[in-house]
Each structure stands twice: as structure tokens, then as C-alpha cells.
């Protein structure tokens, strides 16, 4: 039976329909996500909470076109991700989805500005335009003065701000964040969540944050729990 968290209302940018993910096969198979239905609309920040090993990352990976479901469909802006080849999925990630990772996931040998602008190169954005946009975003996120620093020279909070700037460079309609505050203290975590919320609400994006932190989840428009691979609606 599906966990009906599907909202058929207009403006749905991300939609999971009966998504199941099974790793391996036969006796060694592991079912990570079972029959998940979920819709995230434009301007909506969705929080996915659950214990370790509950299937959060697998579901996030499917919604981010990093994994294809064993059963069911994931649609990003009505495009069935499962119908796309590897090249098209990569293109979709570069142009339509912004990712924020747990430890920022910055490239250690690129400066903050180069890290942000790199996504522009992957998405086919002109180099100069990408650099200008990166500078604007770093400025908006309060780390413009760290633009020429390597990630190793940045604090955890600064890294996550740079990671958010990177996720927003190509102005993607979908923003996915995996435990973005896990390595931050409470204050910095709060700031990062506010920035993500603003990016979703002000930018009309569909946002999904995977988190352990009830404080982070509380700032989301909707919260859903996941346990043993099944989505459980939360009031």
C-alpha cells in the first residue's frame, strides 16, 4: 500500500509515484524504499526525517536523478527520470536540480568562486556569466570576501553557504539538501536552513531537506517521516 503524501495540486515540480528501490537480487537483496508517493510543489520546502538506514538518502538519490527506482516513477517537471539515459540524467542534474550535501561536497582544489562557477560549466553556461553569477550569489549569501579561498580555509558554515550558492547557480527549479546542518553548530545550522528556506520560498523552487534535526524540520512547510523504507505522514 502506498504512503499517500501525494498532493495532486498544481505546481508540482517533483513527484514520486510508487517508488521502490531494491539493491541486489535474490537472497542478498535489500529493499531500501517501498512504494513511496510524494509530491513537492513550487515554493514548498519539504522535510524528510528518519533514523539512519531508513532509506532517506536512497529516496533523495531517486528524487535527484542519481538513482533510478526499481519500481515506480520519479518525475521532475513532468519528465520521467527513469525514461532518460545516463547522459540526459546528468544534464537534468546539471540544469534543473541543485544539490547541497552533508559536508558541503566542495572540490578541495577549487576556490569558493570556482566551486560555484563549475556547475555553470557543466550546464553549458558561458564562463564569464557563470563567474558573475557566482560572485552575486556569494555576495547574497555573505561569503563574497571568501571567494578566492580554498574550502580548507573556510569554516563549516561558510562551506555550506558556498555549497548553497553552487546549488543555486543555474537557478534550478528543484533544490535537494542532504543533512545540510549535520556538521554545523546550532546557530550556523539555523542560518543555513534560513538560507535554504529563502531560496525555496523566494525562488519558487521545490525544496527537499533530509535531516535528523527537529529544529530544521520544523522550518519546513511539510514534514514526512521515513522508517524501514516507508513514508509515514506527519501532522
Amino acid at each position: 500500500m502506498s504512503d499517500h503524501l501525494d498532493d495532486p495540486g498544481g505546481g508540482a515540480l517533483v513527484r514520486a509515484e510508487g517508488c521502490t528501490k531494491i539493491y541486489g537480487d535474490g537472497h542478498t537483496s535489500v529493499t531500501a524504499v517501498v512504494d513511496a508517493d510524494l509530491t513537492i510543489r513550487a515554493g514548498e520546502l519539504f522535510a524528510l526525517v528518519g533514523p539512519s538506514g531508513s532509506g532517506k538518502s536512497t529516496l533523495l538519490s531517486m528524487l535527484g536523478a542519481l538513482l533510478t527506482p526499481t519500481e515506480g516513477h520519479v518525475r521532475i517537471e513532468d519528465v520521467d527520470v527513469g525514461s532518460l539515459g545516463e547522459r540526459k540524467r546528468t544534464e537534468l542534474r546539471a540544469r534543473r536540480i541543485g544539490f547541497v550535501f552533508q559536508a558541503a561536497g566542495l572540490v578541495p582544489f577549487l576556490t569558493a568562486e570556482e566551486n560555484v562557477a563549475a556547475v555553470g560549466a557543466f550546464a553549458g553556461m558561458p564562463r564569464q556569466a557563470a563567474r558573475q553569477r557566482a560572485q552575486v550569489l556569494l555576495d547574497e549569501l555573505g561569503v563574497a570576501d571568501r571567494a578566492t579561498h580554498l574550502p580548507a580555509a573556510l569554516s563549516g558554515g561558510e562551506r555550506q553557504r558556498v555549497a548553497i550558492a553552487r546549488a543555486l547557480l543555474v537557478d534550478p527549479p528543484v533544490l535537494l539538501a542532504d543533512e545540510p546542518t549535520a556538521h554545523l553548530d546550532a546557530d550556523r545550522g539555523q542560518q543555513v536552513v534560513e538560507l535554504l528556506g529563502a531560496a525555496v520560498h523566494d525562488g519558487g523552487r521545490a525544496g527537499l531537506v533530509v535531516t535528523h534535526d527537529p529544529g530544521v524540520a520544523a522550518r519546513a512547510d511539510r514534514i514526512v517521516r521515513i522508517a524501514d523504507g516507508r513514508l509515514i505522514p506527519t501532522a
Binding site: 538518502s57 533523495l60 538519490s61 535527484g64 542519481l66 538513482l67 547522459r87 546528468t90 544534464e91 542534474r93 546539471a94 540544469r95 544539490f99 550535501f101 552533508q102 559536508a103 558541503a104 561536497g105 566542495l106 572540490v107 578541495p108 582544489f109 577549487l110 570556482e114 563549475a118 556547475v119 560549466a121 557543466f122 550546464a123 564562463r127 580554498l150 574550502p151 580548507a152 562551506r159 553552487r166 542532504d178
Partner: protein, 399 residues
């Protein structure tokens, strides 16, 4: 593509310590490889120069000599006879004898070469003065290695048989079995040969081998067969010039007609030396490829979280492969350039007795082999990059 170059360049620039230490190790290995290749090349060239300096396509040995220049004996008039064979443009004779020359108090071991001038037997690599013509008494041209040892044009040197010759020119790259050569007209060579081996009783008109230049477009194989057939039924006057002990005298001259390449390979030691050095150089090239492969395999393993993240945010496998290949290319350029410069510097330091020459063609061949070995070596790392699963970015700490 552009993103790949940018990534590759940025990593090189920002991890200079690691890249330079890797490059330094590769420069040492490339230097070793180039030293071996240069040594092998110089050894072979110093064994074969005497034939390579001749503008000839075929070499005619007497059969019993088994393609050995020093053992071969053919009648001197053979050159003139072969000129009438279809497909032969010109023919000339050459004879070799190991001897020594003295200049002042110094004595040098050399190979004395007698040749017929203005034929394919005349050396072509003249670098100073001129070469002797037939019938010119008492003059010689010498290999430039003798010039390097102090002999100059105009100097008179004494041959082992106390005959004196004046040096009138220098030719280069004409060494034979690691010895410099001295080129004299055929008649002088015959007299020196007779002085050196009086018991052999060789006729004055016997020389070592005949050099043949083909007509343009002539089929070498057909001409070879035709020469062998012609010589099997040769004029008795020419046959009489051969050694009485030869079994071939009664019916004609049994010869081996071979291409210049075969004649070069038949020079003692050349084939074995080439095979031995080829294996050693190939091993050295393989070691460079293995080091390059190991270096990039470790790099990719270490960078896997970053690479997964890049794949997740939209980098294509091609972008990452280009970044890696760019780095392989840069390391190859640095290693090859550094290795070449180091080898050139070392070649100035090695003793004169050690032949070491770094010709551009040798460097180009080794560089190409190293590039191929590097690409093969890095292929495991490339395969790993291509197969990266972007979803692992969700589980990995990218820093």
C-alpha cells in the same frame, strides 16, 4: 571539454607539491629510458655506419662469407658487370680491413675501407674537404670521430703497413663495429690488405662486397634473383680472380644478394644488441606506464568522493576523463622534456668511450612510446572514473 581542462588545470596548480614530486620521479625514469635508447641507437649506428652511409639498395656477398663484410670476397670487376643487369642503375665495390693508423705519437684502431669512387660504394656523408677518387695515390677521407681525436684535413697519417696517406676530408656516421673508418681508393686498400695478410694470397682484384643502386621503380626481389642467375654463369676471366680453394669457381660465383637492411642486420652483434636493448627499453617504458598508472589510480581512489560529487552535480564522465587525461598529458610533457634535457646534460658528462647520442627521432619514438604507456597505465584510473556512481555522493563526505 572546457570544464575538464579547467578542472585538470586547477588541480595541477593547487597540488603542485604532489605533481612536481610525481613529475620528478617520472623525469628520472624517462632519463634512464632515454639513456638506454640513446646508447642502443649509438651502438647500432656505430656498428653499421659504414654501410648506412652508402647510397645503395642491395649488397652482393660471396656465399661462403655468410653476409659478413670482413669475410666476403668478390672480384673487383663485378661492379662493372652488374651495371648491365636490368634494374641496376649503378654498382661499385667496397672492401674492409681492420687495421690501425698513427698520427704523431698517437695510434688509433680503425677499419680501412677501399671503395670505387662515384659509385654506390662512395660515402655520402661528407662534412669537410672531399673524398678520394679512384687512382688518387696516398690520400684518404676519415670519419669525423678521428677529427674529434685531433686529426685534421692536411694531416698525414701512417697506416699499419707504414704507408702514409694524407687526410683530405671527413665523413660522418661511417663507423664500423665501434671503430672509425678511413676511406681510401680500392687499389691502395688492396695493397694494405695484402700487406696485412700476406699468407692469404688474395688477388689484388678481390674486394669485399658489391653495392648496387637500383633504377627508380625497379623491383628489388627480381633484381636480386637476376644478379644471382647472372653470376652463376659468369665470365671465366672474372671467376679466375677468385680464390683457388673456392668450390664455386668451376661453374661461376655463388653469391648472396641481399637488401641493405639485411646486410645491416648481419653485421656481427647488431641483431642481438638491438633485441637486447629493445627489451630493456621496452621494460623501462613499461615501468613509466606502470608508475603513471599507479599514480593516477591512487589519485582517483583518493578523489573518489569529490569525483562522485562532481558527477552528482552534473559533470559528465567525459568531463572527468578529460581532466584526468589532461593531467596525464601534462605529466608526460614535463617528464619527457625534463628527461630529454637531463639526458642531453648527462651525455656531456659520460666518457668518450661510451657512445650515447640522442637523435630527435629516438626522442620522438620514446616519447610516443611513453605517451602510449602512460595512456595504457592510466586506463585503469579512467575506467574507474567512467564507472563512478554519482549516488555515492549522498553517502560520502567529499572533503
Amino acid at each position: 571539454m572546457r570544464a575538464g581542462f579547467d578542472l585538470g588545470l586547477a588541480e595541477l596548480r593547487r597540488t603542485l607539491g604532489r605533481m612536481w614530486s610525481s613529475a620528478a620521479a617520472l623525469v628520472v625514469l624517462v632519463t634512464l629510458t632515454l639513456m638506454l635508447a640513446g646508447l642502443a641507437d649509438a651502438l647500432e649506428r656505430d656498428s653499421t655506419g659504414v654501410l648506412r652511409s652508402l647510397d645503395a639498395d642491395l649488397v652482393v656477398f660471396n656465399e661462403e662469407a655468410r653476409l659478413q663484410l670482413l669475410r666476403s670476397r668478390v672480384p673487383a670487376p663485378l661492379g662493372g658487370s652488374l651495371a648491365f643487369v636490368d634494374g641496376v642503375r649503378q654498382a661499385g665495390t667496397v672492401g674492409l680491413v681492420p687495421t690501425s693508423i698513427s698520427s704523431g705519437d698517437e695510434r688509433f684502431r680503425v677499419t680501412l675501407v677501399g671503395y670505387t669512387s662515384r659509385t654506390p660504394a662512395e660515402p655520402t656523408n661528407l662534412v669537410e674537404g672531399r673524398v678520394p677518387l679512384d687512382g688518387e695515390p696516398g690520400i684518404a677521407a676519415a670519419d669525423v670521430r678521428l677529427r674529434d681525436r685531433g686529426i685534421a684535413v692536411g694531416d698525414t697519417v701512417r697506416l699499419a703497413s707504414d704507408r702514409e696517406v694524407q687526410i683530405v676530408g671527413f665523413v660522418e656516421d661511417t663507423m664500423f663495429l665501434q671503430q672509425p673508418t678511413v676511406w681510401v681508393p680500392q687499389d691502395l686498400w688492396s695493397r694494405v690488405r695484402a700487406d696485412a695478410f700476406p699468407e692469404a694470397g688474395w688477388a689484388e682484384a678481390l674486394v669485399g662486397a658489391t653495392l648496387v643502386r637500383l633504377d627508380p621503380g625497379a623491383d628489388g626481389g627480381e633484381v636480386m634473383a637476376q644478379i644471382e642467375a647472372e653470376l652463376a654463369d659468369l665470365d671465366q676471366d672474372i671467376i679466375d680472380l677468385m680464390d683457388d680453394e673456392s668450390d664455386d669457381v668451376a661453374d661461376g660465383i655463388a653469391v648472396d644478394v641481399v637488401s641493405m637492411g639485411t646486410a645491416l642486420d648481419a653485421i656481427p652483434g647488431v641483431d642481438v644488441q638491438r633485441s637486447t636493448f629493445s627489451v630493456i627499453v621496452a621494460l623501462a617504458v613499461a615501468v613509466v606506464g606502470a608508475v603513471m598508472g599507479l599514480l593516477f589510480a591512487l589519485l582517483v581512489v583518493e578523489r573518489q568522493p569529490v569525483l562522485s560529487t562532481l558527477r552528482a552535480i552534473g559533470a559528465t564522465p567525459t568531463t572527468l576523463v578529460v581532466a584526468l587525461l589532461f593531467q596525464v598529458g601534462v605529466l608526460w610533457v614535463v617528464a619527457t622534456t625534463g628527461g630529454t634535457l637531463a639526458t642531453l646534460a648527462l651525455s656531456q658528462l659520460v666518457p668518450d668511450a661510451m657512445p650515447l647520442a640522442l637523435r630527435p627521432s629516438v626522442v620522438a619514438t620514446i616519447a610516443a612510446a611513453l605517451l602510449l604507456a602512460s595512456a595504457v597505465g592510466a586506463s585503469a584510473a579512467l575506467r574507474r572514473v567512467i564507472r563512478l556512481d554519482p549516488s555515492t555522493a549522498m553517502q560520502e563526505d567529499a572533503e
